[in-house]
């Protein structure tokens, strides 16, 4: 009975509580001046206050919109290319060197060129987010597709499934766990990149809210978008976990 209770208790909140406790201790101890590190209570109070402000919600919506769009683009392209390269050696031969060269490039350095060609609004940020979260998803899908047991495919082909359909009906489901791990990473990367892009050049969004507050030395206001993106990331991740549980019903590791 007690083991069951332990299994149900949201023990995941414990480390977070410890983190906030450490934050409070550091802020009170004077290790960091209040001008740089405000007390958690002040920050959370401000967060709650801002949640009621339509202007702040608009900023959060802008960030969420760009994050989502970029992530979806990365997901579709990453999975498609990953599966194709995983099953077809020719595609792999072309994709592999391109990934090798393009993946480690800090795409943020291309941001000025992006702004000039695509404008100031959502487009350059979405492209940047997609470019950065594409590679973790691609790498995970590629490896996952390559590791699919050939027996599964042979069985499907022997039963009359066409080549294309067997990718969709056999390889894709078998690769799902790997894809979802890649998605987890890609999602976090999306959060970070959209925030950074908005910090560098933007007129709205959570990143801009932070930069604006930093310039005016409003430290408490600086922490509000950080908490916001953190909570946003948490919510999206939880959503992803729920989707994962749904999709991977029956997989041994989910049991």
């Amino acid at each position: 009975m007690s083991a069951r209770l332990l299994a149900r208790a949201p023990i995941g909140l414990l480390p977070i509580a410890v983190l906030i406790g450490i934050w409070q201790a550091v802020a009170l101890s004077g290790l960091a001046p209040p001008a740089l590190l405000p007390r958690p209570a002040l920050v959370f109070a401000r967060v709650l206050e801002q949640l009621g402000q339509p202007e702040f919600l608009l900023h959060a919506a802008a960030t969420l919109r760009r994050l989502f769009a970029g992530f979806v683009v990365a997901l579709v392209l990453g999975v498609a290319l990953g599966l194709a390269a995983g099953v077809n050696r020719r595609v792999d031969a072309v994709v592999r060197p391109l990934v090798r060269i393009l993946a480690p490039i800090p795409k943020i350095a291309l941001y000025p060129a992006l702004i000039l060609t695509l404008g100031f609004d959502d487009a350059p940020k979405i492209v940047l987010v997609a470019a950065d979260s594409f590679f973790p998803i691609l790498l995970a899908t590629l490896q996952g597709a390559r590791a699919v047991e050939p027996k599964l495919v042979w069985a499907a082909r022997a039963a009359g499934t066409s080549a294309a359909a067997s990718i969709y009906k056999v390889v894709l489901p078998a690769t799902l766990p790997a894809i979802l791990t890649g998605c987890r990473i890609g999602l976090v990367v999306s959060c970070i990149v959209v925030f950074l892009a908005e910090m560098i050049s933007s007129t709205d969004g959570l990143g801009w809210v932070l930069v604006n507050a930093a310039r005016r030395f409003q430290t408490v206001d600086m922490f509000v978008p950080l908490i916001a993106i953190s909570v946003l990331g948490l919510a999206l991740n939880l959503g992803l976990s729920a989707i994962r549980a749904r999709l991977l019903v029956g997989f041994p590791e989910e049991a």
């Binding site: 993946a103 050939p150 959060c191 041994p252």
Partner: protein, 260 residues
Amino acid sequence: MRGLATLPGLPPLLAIGGLLAAWQAASLAVGLDSLPGVPATLAAFPDLIRDPDTIRNIADSLRRMVVGFAAALALALPLGILMGRSRTFARLMNPLLMVTYPVPKAALMPIIMLWLGVGDLSKTLVIVFAVSLPVIYHAYAGARAVEEKMLWSAAAMGMSGPARLLRVVVPAALPEILVGCRTGIVIALITMVTSEMIARQSGIGNLIFNSLDFAQYETVYAMIVVVGVLGIVLDIAFERLRTALVGWASPVGEVAVASA
């Protein structure tokens, strides 16, 4: 035609050639100073190489990257594997990770700089944090997916818990772990550069962002090429390592979906 694509060495060269061609075409089409073409970028190299500071900058960045990567592995691998094997531990750690990862550490640089100064430590810490992301999640997934049957057999044969962990779980999870490491290398290189955006002392990122500030775009793209080359070299080295470690895990031949 199929034979052409399988000639060793040719596809990468074709890919690089295609990339350079696309870059040059984009540069001509866009016609802006902020997107120089291939010849202009290559012309920036002689001056860069002759400047002794350049090599020093690249070395500084690489040193931080290597230290950061190693530290991230040391921390994140055990963490991820334990999470994969212990449901409770995973449920303990997961929310914390979900809450802390999405926060861009660049935004916390003022505080980090206060405690750790503006030197290597703060930048290396940012790299450690960023690299640990893919390593933890892939190690977690890999450890989780280890077949229970193998562990039961090992236990039945008298292997202790820790021994099972080391001699069954880790090898079985290794292919997945190595995917995490590969993504980790990519993220290490990117973070190595972006960590130098805020507090600049030395490094490739320092060169890139200083050049961006001064519209020296040829230098910017020349350094991007350097990073690209570093990426290729590291990735090839990593592939060799991966084949050596888990070559046994790859299915023989490709997954024969199409018979063309």
